[in-house]
Subunit: 621 residues, 2 copies
């Protein structure tokens, strides 16, 4: 009964021995693969198939386009190689390093070319992956260069593979300028290579309908010359027209001078503080001594864009108010130029194009700061590879400040200084973690963009928003305290939401009295005299702690236990009425489960052999 | 070029559309499966194919035999169902619970029978597994009952599956006494069910050649009546013959009275202390008030067996010395009867058969205690689901006590009291973890057997042996301190090794002075008056700590930081000469990597559908 099906319809299959059956089975798998490849190699990629695009290298010779299929849990990549030599490496790794990386490799010995899924070990040596999860879909020569098409499941269940998650992905590339005879022969440290950060898993958002009275305004640099240095932050002051009424920004997009796509790293438009009647004009580097101090009062974000991002659309119910009374006419454009090749004399007029309307939408959008107060009481010991600090927005504050119908968070911008490695905000209700608001497990302080959330997050009175940042201080010899300085730290999530409320800041820090007990305890436990005299500043007290695992672990325990001081503020200086000192830490009775990675269906993985690619003969230049 | 191979040899395959190709592909997979099943269902399992055997239920109606293939990383199971009703569940779970379990299920609606790989969720509801990893190889009716043959890879990379590892595995079973129409219809809480602990991954050891002058001696119970209660520890005193010379025990095996296989849970033979000339005879329960106190001096293990274990062979270079001068003539047999059905009047003469020789082998074997000293300074706070304590055997001690050529550990018996959940000993050399000596991630205090190691572990002077135990005190309201009591805790690994050395104990505990600082710190930090007066005992001090996350975490930090007191002893009372107080904790600069589970090759996983099994009609009794 068990045998009667399928068999005879396709082939006549006499009673094979087991080994023969297995071998025939694999032959069929191979056959299937070959047919699949043939079937797909014919299809010509269309432009709109790949809505996202980013240059990989500073010259823009490698151009990555991609799309994301959430139903399939797969990313399709189209890599344009404008000038193919003897192949290239493309892949992903935790923070852009070439060790322990997950790589797709195209290589050629001059006559034959191959494609394979590989990984690099802790010493950077390349190995063929036992499970081939970068799946080549096609290779096509075109006037612009060679197009490589391939796909990768978000999660492959191969422990050698990178898990593609929400948030930042560090893409790496390497260019093979010499023929290579095997994958193993590639010396990864000797090739031209680099990294590019992108948000691969862009949210799949339907674009809201735009009103007919929509206008545009370009805030762009006035044909400046990009300085011939690796890093420049350029500041340019712009003004809204006189008597500009209240409008809603409903969309914005980057305007990038042709040819500078690989140089413009990120851009932000800030609105200046309304309490000053005027701001000086300025057009120059942001760190110049010539820059007027008053420009520091232009910090209200109107728009932010980073490489790899496209247009930013507000949800159709909301817009960002600007113009009108109580709103400054002055705007500051800040452009981060990343020029590692130190190109000279490049002109640039990049910036941001705002789309706005006078037909105000139902809700004003607002921005709220979650995380930690900027205070030195929250500190990170030196020499830590992964130290966590957590800031709380408590139920008491949301109870007081949010409307009964709640607010909807639709976008988020994570922020730390240089030691930040991960940031996550979780929504908790009645002690149970419910939802991740935004998470970036490969966060980089060099890549801070406003990200649309995949879905609106509703926050109601009594909810708690818990923001945790992970820091690395392995290269530091003294404690890193909280604060504004570039070598001090922050842990902030700027959430964009509607309808706007009075709550601008919902952040916390450890109670200073308990921190004082910690310094006393450290003093008594260790056989050393640590200066914990209260007349010394908190940073000085932290700098004088003799750091060891005990003092480090007890600081962790303190932060996990001690009551907090809440900043539940209308603006940075004005608190909501109430008692906000020595508040209990929120208790969490139920954590969110780590999502179990979905493995690709069985036919998704290929045998561990390079796939021949027909590129013809390749020659040296 | 890509297309030219395979195709025409097997079938003529016209240019299919992709969907058709995929569907044909699956047809081939199905075909392959069916052929495989047909091929394997014919083979008759031979007795020796399954060297390990254990009854699952107290009546012995379900009998599990198995073998282990390390090259394939697969366990083959043969389950004998002596009286099949409407199917059964067999599986594995963390600690024998029926929630979150990984199950193979055979079920019948009376007419048709099916087999499938399933899992139970946190509420105990059954679900078909999306990846079928219990692979049915055959079902055979025989006079004894139904034999089910199936296999399971150690690791399947399916997150719903149990990972089969070294150490204890909690097997679970359930009996279907009513017809069921689907897997989902099985109410797992309403069926007859139970658990059995075994070491599934028995080491694959070649049996050493046994000498021709080998003799045997049976230490067995003298036809006793098993008490009609669930748990009995039976004690019986035996004697070696007068003038018995020094011999080597080179092997031992269980002797189990036929019919009592499911009742005899574990057995140990102890030798008494040589300092007493005689010991009273005794034959009765170990906890009886009639038992002479002197029997407590019979604690030197000669042999230990637990359910599921077979014969124990010493390595061919070594034997366990007994007899001769300086060795007691008196032996104590201890048998643990597990009689959950409270059977009455069962006679039993089970015990252990020792195989020994007068031709002494090259080395005497020895036993060494690793882990924690039995002292209350090592304590576990109440209410913890997973609290770790670590005992150290330091480089300084092994430097002093081990011969230059080192010792070889060949077996290990892990030991904790009731709160123990995991035990692991790791060998570290020059600060780098090198090797796991023995690990049990599903350790149960109810299943303590001597386990042969898969390979000898060589320990040299200067090596460190670090033993970590994980405890669960969720059901306790006061701290659990170290000590001998059943509600106190131990963390010990008895390692069996050769050549014997003087080192009998290599264990540690936290320095009491640092613990005193901890009590002071707790006292000052918390706003309560905790009695830390030194005249109060350490257990009293622990009982008076107001437990909260801070006091718990700081205790952890203390144990991870404070210097230790070493017991580097020739016997429990005699230390090696040297300074053993306030020793630095070993530093570990490199941890062992968690082994990456090897996933089965692609054809290993089956589509998620039950497989029909031809068992004919099944009827109610």
């Amino acid at each position: 009964a068990v045998m009667q099906t399928f068999g005879s319809k396709l082939c006549s299959c006499p009673s094979f021995k087991l080994r023969e059956v297995v071998s025939i089975y694999f032959s069929f798998v191979m056959l299937f693969l070959l047919i699949l490849m043939a079937a797909l190699q014919g299809s010509v990629p269309r432009r709109n198939d790949f809505p996202y695009k980013v240059p990989l290298d500073p010259k823009g010779l490698l151009e990555l386009s991609w799309n994301v299929s959430y139903p399939e849990q797969v990313v399709h990549f189209q890599l344009l190689i404008k000038h193919l030599q003897f192949g290239l490496l493309f892949g992903m790794s935790d923070r852009g390093e070439f060790e322990n990386a997950d790589l797709a490799v195209l290589w050629s010995d001059g006559h034959n070319s191959y494609f394979g899924d590989a990984w690099s070990d802790a010493e950077g040596r390349l190995h063929m992956d036992s499970q081939q999860d970068y799946q080549l879909l096609g290779a096509r020569k075109a006037p612009k260069g060679l197009y490589l098409l391939f796909r990768r499941a978000f999660s492959t269940c191969d422990p050698k593979d990178y898990l593609i998650e929400d948030g930042t992905v560090h893409l790496i590339y390497g260019i093979l300028e010499e023929p290579v005879h095997s994958l193993q022969a590639i010396n990864i440290s000797a090739i031209r290579r680099g990294l590019q950060r992108v948000q691969l898993l862009k949210p799949n958002i339907t674009i809201p309908e735009l009103p007919s009275d929509m206008k545009t305004m370009e805030i762009t640099a006035p044909d400046i010359v990009i300085p011939s240095q690796e890093t420049t932050y350029w500041c340019y002051m712009a003004e809204l027209p006189d008597g500009f009424l209240k409008h809603h920004i409903i969309m914005y997009e980057p305007v990038i001078t042709a040819g500078n796509e690989a140089l413009v790293h990120h851009m932000e438009v800030f609105q200046c503080a309304a309490e000053f009647d005027s701001f000086p004009r300025y057009n120059g580097p942001c760190d110049s001594k010539m820059k007027p101090d008053r420009l520091n009062y232009c910090r209200h974000v109107l728009a932010a864009w980073a490489m790899g991002a496209g247009a930013f659309y507000y949800p159709e119910e909301a817009g960002l108010a600007f113009g009108g009374p109580g709103s400054s006419r002055y705007l500051r454009l800040e452009i981060h130029y990343h020029n590692p090749l130190v190109l000279q004399g490049r002109h640039d007029s990049s910036g941001i194009r705002l789309y706005y309307t006078a037909s105000l939408r139902r809700y004003d959008a607002g921005i709220m700061e979650l995380g930690l107060v900027y205070t030195p009481v929250m500190a990170i010991p030196p020499g830590e590879d992964s130290f966590l600090l957590t800031g709380y927005c408590t139920d008491k504050c949301t109870q007081l400040a949010l409307p009964a119908a709640g607010i909807r968070i639709f976008a988020s911008q994570l922020h730390t200084h240089l030691a930040g490695r991960k940031v996550v905000t979780v929504l908790s209700r009645e002690g149970r973690e419910r939802q991740v608001v935004n998470a970036d497990g490969h966060y980089s302080p060099h890549f801070q963009e406003i990200r649309m959330l995949k879905e609106l997050v509703a926050v109601f009175p009594g909810d708690e928003l818990i923001t945790t940042c992970t820091y690395n201080t392995e290269d530091r010899r003294k404690a890193t305290v909280g604060g504004f300085g570039i070598l001090e730290e922050m842990c902030v999530n700027y959430v964009h939401y509607y309808p706007q409320t009075q709550l601008e800041l919902c952040k916390s820090a450890v109670d200073p009295g308990y921190l004082h007990r910690y310094f006393n305890l450290v003093n008594r436990f260790n056989d050393e005299e640590v200066c914990t005299c209260p007349q010394v500043s908190v940073p000085q007290q932290f700098y004088s702690v003799p750091w060891n695992t005990f003092n480090r672990d007890v600081l962790k325990s303190l932060y996990d236990f001690a009551p907090i001081s809440m900043h539940c503020n209308k603006s940075s200086a004005v608190r909501f009425p109430g008692e906000w000192e020595k508040q209990r830490l929120p208790t969490i009775t139920e954590r969110l489960q780590e999502p179990v990675p979905r493995c690709p269906p069985t036919p998704g993985s290929r045998p561990a052999a390079p796939i021949p690619v027909n590129l013809g003969e390749l020659r040296r230049d």
